[in-house]
């Protein structure tokens, strides 16, 4: 697909946003999960009164603190990019994103900042109970902060609870709870946080495995693994469940994304899921090329995932581009025509307003309202524009699912050997723990690639394509900031890894 890339401003802006978000997502999932693991370790300390658990909690808190400090504010760049590279989009969604992001800021400040100090500085200064309460509040606060960002992202995937105001050119919120409790918001939140929990569990397991391999801090390592393996197993099972739910709602609201995820070009009843395959990158909508160079598929499973019925119909990319009357699917050409009407009546409304012709303005507005749900299509040039990059979406999705499935097995093995008391003998498992920790990072990033690349060309699903959302600035500006950002954040990442490795070398304080 690379030959299709036009590295103009919009693609540089997209690349920059992706780079920023992916760097940010290196730090965020560890924060989300490590806070809960620290809370678990400390809860055991408070329950048992054993100092070893306290030292354990302190050690993992230190690593959490390093990750938090390096990661803090990396997300702010995303907001800067909205104003510079995505000014039109930023203007249009200001009313929707204002409330969730304000709540995020306030919640993050009060919950995290207040209890953070107690968590790090309060050992032996506040009561055990209050310290534990603070640690839990940091965990809950961090995860609640993520909620609001994910609500905003969920709204872009499934815009609901709003109306478009042509006078202000803004999407205006009608119902806050529709936005916050939309199926996409819930799905994004549960899937993203559980992925963070699983990744953090692997982080603890990988470092503890290193200690076991080096025969240092053995008791601490075994205890850490016991807690992390339970948390990781539960999280990874939840991750599979929430992932299934995410695909189910994609089938309802973003069928093109689902079709690209599975490389399904022609809709089928009892549609198969591709376990693995090599995508034919030359395939285009409507041609007769084979979609895969090779593939291994399991019949009926995609229909089951998408509709909960094994013999149901799942639309393919061609059905969504060209339409399929037999299945009641409207093609993109028809939607583009309706979208063009929306654009035309919007222009007419604005013109009539300027000239003071109220009757014409009212008539144009009524017609615009009839077609406004297709507004975004009016800015597309051809039906095939609704197809996202299939290869990227397909491979990202399959990497994510393969790693997610492997994680369940890894957590199960660690837990089983811990329960049998033979973990120290399973030296072959330790490298796997580390490899899966790195793979989990990759899977998390791949998940975001599926979510965002898979919904192209939309900045806001069906309503605003990225070509209209962008700012009209020279691509050289975006290139400059892209590389500056890349260098700065790579240095930060190197700093984090070095500081963390040093602390891991030192290890936790042993209790005599």
């Amino acid at each position: 697909m690379i030959e299709h890339f036009d590295l103009g401003t919009v693609n540089w802006a997209r690349a920059q946003f992706a780079l920023t978000a992916m760097y940010h997502w290196i730090f965020v999932p560890l924060t989300l999960g490590l806070t809960f693991l620290c809370a678990f370790f400390e809860t055991i300390y408070v329950k048992t009164g054993k100092e070893e658990w306290k030292e354990l909690a302190k050690f993992w808190m230190k690593l959490f603190g390093i990750n938090f400090a390096i990661g803090v504010a990396t997300g702010i760049i995303l907001e800067f990019e909205f104003g510079t590279n995505w000014a039109n989009y930023s203007w249009m969604v200001g009313d929707i994103f204002g409330a969730p992001l304000a709540i995020e800021g306030i919640a993050a400040f009060f919950l995290e900042a207040t209890f953070f100090a107690v968590m790090f500085f309060g050992w032996d200064r506040v009561s055990k109970g209050f310290h534990l309460f603070s640690t839990w509040m940091v965990a809950i606060g961090s995860n609640l902060s993520a909620l609001w960002i994910l609500v905003a992202n969920g709204w872009m995937q499934f815009p609901t609870g709003m109306t478009f105001n042509p006078d202000t050119a803004r999407f205006e919120m009608q119902n806050f709870f529709d936005v916050v409790l939309s199926p996409y918001a819930i799905s994004k939140f549960t899937h993203a946080t559980t992925s963070g929990f699983a990744l953090s569990s692997l982080f603890v397991i990988a470092i503890s495995s290193y200690y076991l391999a080096k025969k240092r801090h053995v008791l601490m390592a075994k205890r850490s693994i016991a807690v992390a393996a339970v948390f990781g197993l539960v999280s990874s099972l939840m991750l599979a469940f929430t992932g299934d739910e995410a695909a189910f709602i994609d089938a309802k609201h973003q069928p093109m994304k689902l079709a690209a995820m599975e490389g399904l070009w022609n809709g089928q009843t009892a549609a198969p899921i591709v376990a693995f395959g090599l995508v034919n990158g030359m395939k285009e909508p409507g041609d007769y090329n084979e979609p895969f160079i090779f593939e291994f598929h399991v019949p009926g499973i995609l229909s089951l995932l998408a509709n909960r019925k094994i013999d149901s119909f799942v639309p393919g990319i061609n059905d969504l581009v060209f339409g399929n009357k037999n299945q009641g699917i409207t093609g993109a050409a028809e939607k583009i025509e309706k979208g063009r009407l929306a654009v035309k009546y919007l222009a007419e409304y604005k013109e009539a307003q300027k000239s003071g012709d109220l009757a014409r303005a009212s008539s144009a507005l009524n017609r615009f309202n009839l077609h406004k749900s297709y507004l975004g299509y009016g800015h597309l040039q051809a039906p095939k524009d609704i197809v996202p990059p299939v290869s990227i979406t397909f491979y990202s999705f399959h990497i994510m699912v393969a790693v997610g499935t492997g994680m369940i097995l890894i957590f199960f093995l660690y837990l089983a050997f811990t329960a049998r008391g033979t973990l120290e003998k399973q030296t072959w498992l330790y490298p796997l723990g580390f490899i899966f920790f790195l793979l989990a990072f990759m899977a998390g990033e791949a998940g975001w690639v599926v979510a965002e690349v898979g919904r192209q060309p939309w900045a806001i699903q069906d309503l605003l394509p990225v070509t209209v959302a962008r700012t009209d600035i020279p691509s050289s500006n975006v290139k400059l900031t892209f590389f500056m950002f890349f260098v700065t954040f790579t240095l930060l990442l190197i700093a984090e890894v070095r500081i963390m490795l040093k602390q891991i070398q030192i290890g936790p304080k042993e209790v005599k």
């Binding site: 603190g65 209050f130 050119a169 198969p272 654009v343 604005k350 051809a382 209209v468």
Partner: protein, 135 residues
């Protein structure tokens, strides 16, 4: 049971005035005295302050982390924000009305159809689905 916020040595309750240094006698002390704030609240404030102060003083790796945070914030806000990431609409227009007019004009602009790329009308006519060999 109320939460035990701090392990503060138990002291008999006194009026705040007894704790306020003479240097501070004046508006603030009078205000606090009049509002009837008790010793416990004052002690809570003092212990919270000392929690932060001692915590920052006793930091080890934390000092390095704070330095990194400071450098990062300087780069983000004083370099990136000021010089590289202007709020384009904010800068280009004076009022919200002008901004909304600008965005509306972009939204109301019809793009050309299929520039330099045939629309493949043959394909668009096949609206009964696309019966290919497989998948």
């Amino acid at each position: 049971m109320p939460i035990n916020y701090c392990q503060i040595p138990k002291t008999p309750k006194k009026k705040l005035s007894a704790l306020i240094p003479k240097k501070l006698e004046g508006g603030l002390a009078i205000l606090l005295r009049q509002s009837g704030v008790e010793v416990k609240a004052w002690s809570l404030f003092k212990s919270t302050f000392s929690l932060y102060r001692d915590g920052f003083r006793s930091m080890g790796i934390g000092k390095t982390l704070w330095k990194i945070i400071a450098v990062k914030l300087v780069i983000i806000f004083l370099v990136f924000k000021l010089f590289l990431f202007p709020d384009v609409l904010q800068k280009a227009f004076e009022t919200d009305g002008q901004r909304s007019e600008h965005v509306a004009s972009i939204l109301a602009h019809m793009p050309p159809k299929c520039p330099g790329n045939p629309c493949r009308k043959d394909m668009l006519n096949k609206s009964q689905g696309f019966p290919l060999k497989r998948r």
